[in-house]
Amino acid sequence: MGDNETNILLKVEDLNIVFHDHKRPETAVEDVDFELAQGEILGIVGESGSGKSMTAHAIAGLLHRSEITKSGKILFEGRELLGCKRSELRTLQGNDIGVVFQEPMTALNPVKKIGWQVGEALRIHTKMSQDEIRAKVLEMLASVELDNPEEVYEKYPHELSGGQRQRVCIAAAMICSPKLLIADEPTTALDVTIQAQIIELLRHINRTAGTSILFISHDLSLVRQLCERVIVMRKGLVVEEGVCEAVFDNPKEEYTKQLVAAIPKVDFINKK
């Protein structure tokens, strides 16, 4: 670890997230610690409600509400994100950090054309002309392996399938070539075959663009396919952390053992 200290992209230290919108304060994330190196794919697994999304939202800067208290540190290239001003955060959002959500159905604006939505981050962060943005968007749509980018550009979200929409979301998140892509259950709403394609696409993005990916899923087999390292979360706590193979082949915690036992056997056969 010590020698690659310099290419740490993201460092989360003692992250705590507490909700105060009910009578009793509710801790969603407790003392979470992890690092993500440049070019690495890190998986976060855990059952639903274990605080995966909240961790991701905190990193992306979505938890700016008064009912939520956060403590700890989120260092992105050494910059503290948790306490920084929204205006400062905005210069990173979409530019250095891209996010893909679980539901491609709702993540796109229903009344805007696909091309417009994919180009939005460029419009915000760069001074490119209309034509340059259009060209870049078409290039991006092609690179997420959508057929007929020109056609897709002019379409509205409801005219696309779930898988196509998720590709569009990935294109929109990647348009400014961010250093970090946060993918929060990006395949959960999709069919198994489409899932595999999206996973392949993420791997491709990681290899070609060198983008670090924080891949969140409740599906261990997907994490195992894609990630080098994994952290296992439960009830807001990190219960286990390590290299994928080691964690899954030799789980130390009871909870991880249960998760591993729940993976359908077919995936193991495929893997070998």
Binding site: L62, E120, A121, I124
Partner: protein
């Protein structure tokens, strides 16, 4: 917090209806409603536009010989107590009515959208303060509120527009606020924020186009209410001032001749009713 938001969202539509009372449904089919309404409205709009350039008689010209004359081919709607052609006055009055209606919706709508969007999007203290001001404004019947403004600003076409426009802000802002509360936590809004969009951009570029159906139907119903309110103000003698014609002003002047020359009151009255009907049908179809 989450729960109360949900409750408010559900009542948004109901609130829309409550805030703007008038609603009509004649045909079963929404499309028929809309097209019949559109037809009627377009017809009146056409007459208004033609009337702007040409009316059979000068609406303010008095013909002593034609005083109180009944409906005929020379004077389609007859003449009033000054011998003015009622048809010409109705046509030019329609123009005033449209102008006041549109102006009111424009002022009330624009300010209402801004206030409603900011309150609904940000929530919290901003919302609390903004909505209490709107509540206070809404607590006055809009006619009474308009009365206050007219007495402050004087009477006339433009004063009526400003007065009614201000009186209409609360209804618009409430509807818009409810829509923004519904939209602000949706995934595509989060996505927009995650692209680094400013609040301003999220509010007006990303969310606003999504609520246009609601805006259009509120604007149409608001237009109707403005027409009625203008008629009410003019009827009370504090709206559009003579010799400017407006439908409400004509109704007001016709009071004294209700039995001797009933067409004086009936003609502008019926025209107004049909016009309101047309616009209401259109509003029904839009939803």
């Amino acid at each position: 917090m989450a729960n109360t938001n949900m409750g408010k969202t559900i009542t948004a539509k109901a609130q829309n209806k409550k805030a703007f009372g008038l609603k009509l449904k004649i045909f079963k089919d929404k499309k028929t409603n809309f097209y019949v309404g559109l037809g009627i409205t377009a017809f009146f709009l056409l007459i208004t536009i033609v009337g702007y350039f040409w009316t059979p008689y000068n609406p303010n010209a008095m013909d002593v010989d034609a005083k109180y004359s009944a409906m005929s081919f020379t004077h389609l709607f007859g003449c009033d107590n000054f011998g003015r052609d009622i048809f010409s006055r109705v046509v030019s009055g329609l123009g005033t009515t449209f102008f006041v209606g549109l102006g009111t919706v424009l002022i009330g709508g624009l300010v209402g959208i801004i206030i409603g969007a900011i309150c609904g999007y940000f929530g919290g203290l901003v919302d609390e303060i903004g909505m209490r001001i709107m509540d206070a404004l809404y607590a006055f019947p809009s006619l009474l509120l308009a009365l206050v403004f007219v007495s402050l600003l004087g009477s006339g076409k433009y004063q009526v527009i400003i007065a009614l426009g201000i009186a209409f802000i609360p209804s618009f802002s409430r509807i818009v606020r409810a829509e923004y509360m519904r939209c602000r936590d949706l995934d595509y809004v989060k996505s927009a924020r995650l692209f680094g969009a400013s609040h301003f951009r999220v509010i007006f570029v990303h969310i606003l186009p999504n609520i246009t159906p609601v805006l259009v139907s509120s604007a149409i119903i608001g237009f109707n209410n403005a027409v009625l309110a203008e008629a009410g103000l003019s009827f009370l003698g504090i709206g559009v001032q003579p010799p400017d014609a407006s439908l409400g002003e004509m109704l007001s002047s016709a009071q004294s001749f209700l039995f001797s020359t009933p067409w004086y009151a009936l003609c502008p009255g019926i025209v107004m009713i049909i016009m309101i009907l047309g616009v209401s049908l259109m509003a029904e179809g839009v939803e």
